[in-house]
C-alpha cells in the first residue's frame, strides 16, 4: 500500500547554484589537515626514535626485536592518544568528520592500537631475554621485579585488553550501555598507568630530552582536550543555559516530544539536524545520558526532541514533569545543512529517524520545488510526526511522500514489497536525484539500504549524509 500526498510546487527559474559549495571545500580542507596531522604524528614518533640513534640499534637479533618493540609501543600509544582525541568531542573534529564519522575512525583504530601495544610487550620481553641470555619467563620476572613501574604498565595493558574486547560488537550488544561505558572509561586509567614506565624504563623519553618534552606535551594536550571539551564545556554550557522541561507531548504509542526551555540558547550554536546527549535530573534518570536529535529547529529559548521508548529507561521519559532540570552535552553531528553540496535536497526518514529530518526540513536552504521528503514506515500508525512534516512541506514547497508497507523478506531493499516489484527506487522517486544531497535517518540496516540505493543511482559519497544512532 502506498499513499502519496504530493503538493505541486510552483515552478521557478533560478540561476544554477555552484556545483560544490565553499562550506564543503572548507570542511574537506579541515578533514584533510586533521588526517595529515594524524599521519605525521605517527611519523614523528618514529623520527624521535631515529633522532635518538635508533637506526643503529638493529645490529643483533636481540636489538632488532627490542627496537621494533620500542617502535610498536611508540606508534601504538600515539594511536591510543589519537583515539582519545577523536572521542574528546573537539569542535574541529566534529565539524570535519561529524560525530559518527569520528566514532567510526575511533573504532577502526582500536584493534591496530591494541595489536601494537601487545606486540610492544611481546617483542621487548623476547628481545631483552635474548640480550640477557635468559628464558622468557625469567625475563618477565626480572622486568616485574627489577624495572621500575612495570607493574603499573601490566595493569594498563590488562585494562586496555578489557576495553577493546568489551567494545567488539558482539560483546557490546550483550552488555547494557552503562556497563560498557564505565568499562570504556577505564581506558583513561590504562593510558595513564602506562605513562610512568615509558618515562623511567624507556631510554628514549629521558627527562629533559626533546623527546620527553614532546611526549609530555602530547599527553597534556590530550588530557586537557578531554577535560575541557568533555567535562568543563558541557557543564558550563548546561549551567548557563538553565534548561528545564517545558512540556511533554504524546506523538504516538511510546513516542513523545519533549519541549525544553532555556536561557539564551543561541550561544549553544546548535543547528537543525544535530543531536545533544541529554541528562534529565530526576531520581530515576539522572545517572544516564542519551543521545537524542533535535526534532525542531532550535530557537533562542527552546529545544525539542522526539523520543521513542526503546530502552529500559527511555520509557520513563514520557513521565517527565514540567520544570525538571536538564543538562546537555553538545551539539554534535554533521547531519545539518552545513554538509550540503548541492542545490536540491532529499530527506529520507524511517521510524524515529524522522526527528532530525523534521528539524532539518525546517531550516534547510532550498527553493520551492527543490526538496523531497520521503517518510517510510510499516503502517500508518508508526509514521511519526507525519502531520508536522506535511504542514512544513506545504509551507516550504517541498514534495512529501509517505511510503507504507513491510519490506519484502530476503530482498535487500528499503522499500515495501510492491515498490520493489515496481520497480521503484530512489531515482524513480526523485528523478533529479543527481543534483541533490540525500539525508537518511532510520534503523541502521534500513539506512544502509537507502545509502546503497543512492550509491547505485550514481550519487557520490559527498552527497549522501546519514547519522547512526547506535553508540
Amino acid at each position: 500500500m502506498s499513499i502519496d500526498t504530493r503538493t505541486t510546487p510552483p515552478r521557478r527559474r533560478t540561476a544554477p547554484a555552484p556545483r560544490v559549495r565553499p562550506e564543503y571545500r572548507q570542511r574537506m580542507r579541515l578533514a584533510d589537515t586533521l588526517q595529515v596531522l594524524c599521519t605525521v604524528s605517527v611519523a614523528l614518533v618514529i623520527a624521535l626514535f631515529l633522532a635518538d640513534g635508533g637506526a643503529a640499534r638493529f645490529a643483533t637479533p636481540a636489538d632488532v626485536l627490542t627496537s621494533l618493540g620500542v617502535l610498536a609501543g611508540l606508534i601504538g600509544t600515539d594511536l591510543l592518544l589519537i583515539m582519545m582525541l577523536l572521542a574528546a568531542r573537539l569542535p574541529a573534529i566534529d565539524r570535519a568528520f561529524g560525530h559518527d564519522g569520528a566514532m567510526a575512525l575511533h573504532q577502526s583504530l582500536g584493534k591496530p592500537a591494541l595489536s601494537l601495544i601487545l606486540a610492544h610487550a611481546g617483542l621487548l620481553i623476547v628481545g631483552y631475554a635474548l640480550a640477557g641470555e635468559i628464558s622468557v619467563v625469567a625475563e618477565v620476572w626480572r622486568m616485574l621485579t627489577v624495572l621500575p613501574d612495570m607493574l603499573l604498565a601490566v595493569i594498563g595493558l590488562g585494562l586496555l585488553v578489557l576495553v577493546v574486547v568489551s567494545s567488539i560488537v558482539i560483546v557490546r550488544h550483550r552488555l547494557p550501555y552503562e556497563v560498557w561505558h564505565i568499562v570504556h572509561l577505564l581506558s583513561y586509567v590504562a593510558v595513564l598507568a602506562s605513562l610512568p614506565h615509558q618515562l623511567t624504563v624507556g631510554a628514549l623519553l629521558v627527562a629533559g630530552s626533546p623527546q620527553w618534552f614532546y611526549w609530555l606535551a602530547l599527553y597534556v594536550g590530550v588530557a586537557g582536550s578531554i577535560l575541557v571539551f568533555r567535562v568543563i564545556l558541557p557543564v558550563v554550557r548546561s549551567l548557563r543555559a538553565r534548561l528545564r522541561v517545558e512540556g511533554v507531548d504524546r506523538v504516538a504509542d511510546g513516542v513523545v516530544s519533549i519541549r525544553v526551555s532555556g536561557h539564551r540558547l543561541a550561544r549553544l550554536q546548535a543547528d537543525a539536524g544535530q543531536f545533544f546527549i541529554w541528562r534529565f535530573w530526576t531520581p530515576g534518570l539522572w545517572w544516564q545520558a542519551h543521545p537524542f536529535s533535535l526534532s525542531a529547529a532550535p530557537t533562542g529559548n527552546s529545544l525539542r526532541i522526539t523520543v521513542r521508548s526503546l530502552g529500559d529507561a527511555s520509557a520513563a521519559l514520557g513521565g517527565l514533569r514540567r520544570g525538571t532540570r536538564v543538562s546537555v552535552e553538545g551539539p554534535y553531528g554533521l547531519f545539518t545543512d552545513r554538509a550540503r553540496t548541492s542545490p536540491r535536497i532529499v530527506l529520507v526518514a524511517a521510524g524515529i529517524g524522522v526527528a532530525p529530518i523534521r528539524s532539518l526540513l525546517e531550516t534547510a536552504s532550498f527553493l520551492p520545488g527543490q526538496a523531497t521528503v520521503i517518510l517510510r514506515s510499516h503502517t500508518l500508525a508508526d509514521s511519526y510526526l507525519a502531520d508536522e512534516l506535511a504542514e512544513l512541506c506545504r509551507a516550504r514547497g517541498a514534495e512529501f511522500r509517505v511510503i507504507v508497507g513491510k519490506r519484502p523478506p530476503g530482498v535487500g531493499s528499503w522499500l515495501p514489497a510492491d515498490a520493489v516489484a515496481g520497480p521503484v527506487n530512489l531515482l524513480t522517486l526523485v528523478p533529479r536525484l543527481r543534483d541533490a544531497d540525500v539525508y537518511v535517518c532510520g534503523p541502521r540496516r534500513w539506512t544502509d539500504e537507502v545509502v546503497r540505493d543512492a550509491r547505485s543511482a550514481g550519487l557520490p559519497p559527498r552527497q549522501i549524509h546519514f547519522e547512526r544512532f547506535d553508540w
Partner: protein
C-alpha cells in the same frame, strides 16, 4: 581532496622521518665507533670489586689504581698517570671511569663500569660513552654537555670522571 591529503601526509611524514634520521646520524656513527673500539679494547668490566669504594654518591672515596704509575708532581699541570674515579650509583647501576693523563693532558677516558641494570641501559651507555669521551678529550675537563637520551649515564660518567680528576689534582 583525498589524494591531495594522502600526498601531503606522505610528503610531511617523509620529511619528518628524514630530519629524525639526520639528527640521529651522529649517534649512529659514534655507536659504530664504540663497536669497533670495544672489539680492540680488553674487557674492563672485570673490576667490579671496586664497587666497594663507597656505595655512595658525590665525591665519595677515590682509589688510585695501584698498577698505574702515579706521579706525585708538584706542579698540577705536569701530572702523568692513570686515575680511577669513584663508582657512582645511578638509577640504572654503578658508573665508574678511569682517566689517563699525560703531562697534565687528558689523553684517554676508559669506562670501568657502565650502567647495566638492564639491556636497555647497556645500550644507552654504549652509545653515550664514546660521545662523552670525545667531548672530555676536547674540553679537557668534566665540564661537558649532557648526551641527550642518556642523562643518567652522563651524570654518573662525569661525576666519576671528576672524582678521578680530583684525585689527580688536575
Amino acid at each position: 581532496m583525498r589524494i591531495r591529503a594522502a600526498a601531503a601526509a606522505a610528503l610531511a611524514s617523509v620529511s619528518v622521518l628524514s630530519v629524525g634520521w639526520l639528527v640521529g646520524a651522529p649517534a649512529v656513527q659514534s655507536l659504530q665507533a664504540t663497536l669497533t673500539t670495544t672489539l680492540t679494547r680488553p674487557p674492563s668490566n672485570e673490576t667490579t670489586g671496586v664497587s666497594s669504594t663507597g656505595g655512595g654518591t658525590g665525591g665519595a672515596t677515590t682509589t688510585i689504581d695501584a698498577s698505574a704509575p702515579v706521579a706525585e708532581a708538584l706542579a698540577p699541570t705536569s701530572v702523568t698517570g692513570t686515575f680511577e674515579g669513584s663508582a657512582v650509583q645511578t638509577r640504572f647501576g654503578p658508573m665508574q671511569v678511569s682517566v689517563t693523563i699525560d703531562n697534565g693532558t687528558i689523553t684517554m677516558v676508559t669506562p670501568l663500569q657502565l650502567t647495566n641494570d638492564d639491556r636497555k641501559s647497556v645500550q644507552i651507555s654504549n652509545r653515550a660513552a664514546p660521545i662523552l669521551r670525545d667531548e672530555v678529550l676536547a674540553a679537557q675537563s668534566a665540564n661537558v654537555a649532557n648526551v641527550s637520551g642518556a642523562t643518567y649515564t652522563t651524570q654518573g660518567y662525569l661525576r666519576s670522571l671528576q672524582a678521578a680528576l680530583d684525585a689527580a689534582q688536575l
